[in-house]
């Protein structure tokens, strides 16, 4: 089965069921968005896919590969890259070095060849740099290339994190709230980039996002979660007008008012 397939995923933290039998499939080339109120379990789903969490029940596979059989550091090698909700960059390194870490899964040299800086190391370094420069061009990061992350504004950090995920040349990109904390212009840029990533690069995108404007602009399908359970799946418009979704966001009293 190709694409990302999650089947009956359940994750509990003590007595709390963060994700409750969540099932969905992300088709190759699709932009799939997870929406829902805070604490709905969206990020938990992400952490299950990237194997930071092990679910109690259910199966997860990507292009036929059983994700649960792999540790977290194997996931990038399977072609899945991710960003984090609270930016997790390598603070003391420069933008360029951060993006180069994204190339880690394509590394062919080992510590011995690194130690002696064999010609193969230099050849690979040039190739990695060329690949990273493509990402820098795509995301307009040229002015920040040699700057350390510690001094960069929030909006740029968000873009660098996207760039680092793209540098891994993934087949599936997991974006955890790509637009949170961004200005209107920055969110628009982000929307264009996500569209290009899906359409031009052919990378499947699974994203968690609160900004419904961004979601309706880029997502082919949307799944709404609340209290760890699926509420509705469909296009952005269908999900937004779904009674269960409105109830989850606004409460039952308002539904009657809206309906009545």
């Amino acid at each position: 089965m190709s694409g990302l397939v999650l089947n009956g995923i359940t994750k509990r933290f003590g007595g709390l069921t963060a994700v409750d039998t969540v099932t969905f499939t992300v088709e190759p080339g699709e932009v799939f968005a997870l929406v829902g109120p805070n604490g709905a379990g969206k990020s938990t789903v992400f952490n299950v896919i990237s194997r930071f969490y092990t679910p109690e029940e259910g199966t997860a596979s990507f292009d036929g590969e059983d994700l649960l059989a792999h540790p977290a550091h194997d996931i990038a090698g399977l072609g899945i890259a991710r960003t984090f909700q609270n930016i997790e960059l390598f603070e003391q390194a420069t933008v360029l070095q951060n993006l180069l870490v994204g190339r880690h899964r394509h590394r062919k040299t080992n510590v011995l060849s690194d130690l002696f800086h064999l010609p193969s190391v230099r050849r690979d370094e040039r190739a990695h740099r060329a690949a990273v420069e493509d990402v820098i061009d795509f995301l307009d990061l040229q002015p920040h290339r040699d700057r350390p992350i510690a001094g960069l504004p929030y909006g740029v950090r968000k873009v660098v994190e996207l760039g680092r995920a793209l540098a891994t040349q993934p087949r599936l990109l997991l974006l955890d709230e790509p637009a949170s904390g961004l200005s209107v212009e920055e969110t628009q840029d982000m929307a264009f980039w996500i569209e290009d990533i899906a359409k031009q690069m052919g990378i499947t995108v699974l994203m968690v996002e609160h900004d419904m404007g961004l979601v309706s602009a880029v997502a082919n399908r949307v799944m709404a979660l609340a209290d760890g359970r699926e509420l509705a799946t469909g296009t952005a418009a269908e999900v937004q007008s779904h009674p269960a979704v409105i109830e989850a966001y606004l409460g039952t009293g308002n539904v009657r008012k809206v309906a009545g």
Binding site: S50, F52, P71, A72, H73, D74, I75, A76, G77, A81, R82, F84, E88, L89, F90, E91, Q92, A93, L96, Q97, L100, V101, G102, R103, H104, R105, R107, T109, V111, D114, L115, F116, H117, V121, R122, D124, E125, R126, H128, R129, A130, P148, A150, G151, R164, T168
Partner: protein, 368 residues
């Protein structure tokens, strides 16, 4: 101010991004190559010995820097790994292995044993790892006493001379030759260190240091990477330990004690974490402060008739310097040097807050 226009990717890969940089380092190298001539002219082998031991400490500092500065794992037990290197070297030499084989082998043994010993504590972070490695340092002293048959225990063991291409190098008999041996080892270590830092291995170390969770998401295996960092770090420390043994000519269970472990950590914090320069600057401070204090004591007692024999004054001054650095210059001497250089580069546009962000970051999160 020099603006560097990069025209190809090699500029960022090469050791020296600019011919002028290479020039300055060549001048520095020439100065160190010529330094013994000055001491020969002055007939001052005492100071030459001091400079040699500064280099040995710099090598040990590079070893700890690989772990603490590059990978973000604090160790208060590096004297233990130096001890492994030292005793391995002595045992191999006594078994008749030529120095050119025994010496690197001692480093590898220290690396392998160090990684093996540190394996159980590698999952720990920050202050917990520091405490666990501190315990290793204490245990090592006991092991040296217990392993009397091999290590000489409390009575100690004498370190054989270095025999290199038919020459015998002894720290006292020919201090100049010993200086060049140490300088050579130092240069090779720096070359290897620099190669690691600019390679994918070095970047995976930095990734583990700055964010373990996103390092994992990028496909870096934390357990493997930390083990590798420990191996490289302990190997370098082992080489430094072997040289330290040659420098001391006689080692006992007290040679590689906790104070040395603490001194090493102090050294790289004072010098500047995560930089090669930092290891050297720190070694200079740590190596030369006792000399300065000793001179100051003599001066005080002769000029002012004050007996400068206050016990423990060295440690007190060290501690004051360390506290001063953590409070006012967390980026160490090298950080200070960078600021001075930037001041001249940007003159007259340098402003006070230019490095404020890095500083606040280091203060709050660097020592986790």
């Amino acid at each position: 101010m020099r603006t560097l226009f990069k025209t190809n990717y090699d500029t960022d890969i090469d050791w020296f991004s600019h011919p002028a940089k290479l020039g300055w380092y060549l001048v520095l190298l020439a100065a160190f190559l010529a330094l013994p001539l000055y001491f020969f002219w002055q007939n001052d082998t005492y100071l030459l010995g001091e400079v040699t031991s500064v280099f040995i400490f710099a090598i040990a500092g590079l070893g700890l820097m690989m772990l603490t500065g590059q990978t973000g794992l604090a160790s208060l037990g590096h004297a233990a790994f130096m001890a492994i290197g030292c005793y391995a070297n002595v045992l191999l030499l006594n078994a008749g292995v030529p120095w050119l084989i025994a010496f690197p082998l001692a480093g590898l043994i220290a690396g392998a044993l160090g990684t093996f010993i540190a394996m159980p504590v590698m999952r720990l972070h920050g202050v917990y790892l520091a405490l666990a490695t501190l315990a290793l340092s204490v245990l090592m002293v006991d092991f040296i006493v217990l392993g009397e048959d091999f290590t000489g225990g409390v009575a100690g063991i004498s370190v054989p001379d270095i025999s290199l291409f038919g020459f015998t190098v002894n720290r006292y008999a020919n201090p100049y030759a010993f200086y060049y041996v140490v300088l050579g080892v130092c240069l090779i270590t720096v070359a290897f260190y620099r190669n690691i830092v600019r390679s994918p291995t070095g970047r995976s170390f930095a990734a583990i240091r700055d964010s373990e969770i996103s390092a994992r998401a990028m496909g870096v295996d934390p357990a493997k990477t930390k083990a590798l960092a420990f191996f490289l770090s302990c190997s370098i420390a082992g080489l430094a330990g072997a040289l330290f043994g040659h420098n001391a000519t006689y080692v006992t269970h007290e040679t590689f004690d906790i104070v040395m472990s603490i001194t090493l950590l102090l050294m790289i914090v004072i010098g500047g974490l995560g930089t090669i320069h930092g290891a050297f600057l720190g070694a200079i401070v740590v190596g030369l402060i006792p000399v300065i204090i000793a001179n100051a004591r003599t001066w005080l007692s002769t000029s002012f008739d004050i007996t400068g024999n206050i016990p423990g004054i060295e440690q007190a001054i060290f501690a004051a310097i360390l506290i001063g650095f953590i409070l006012f210059e967390p980026m160490g001497l090298y950080g200070r040097w960078m600021k001075i250089r930037t001041w001249f580069d940007l003159f007259p546009f340098y402003r006070k807050g230019l490095f404020a962000r890095q500083k606040s970051y280091l203060k709050t999160e660097r020592v986790q």
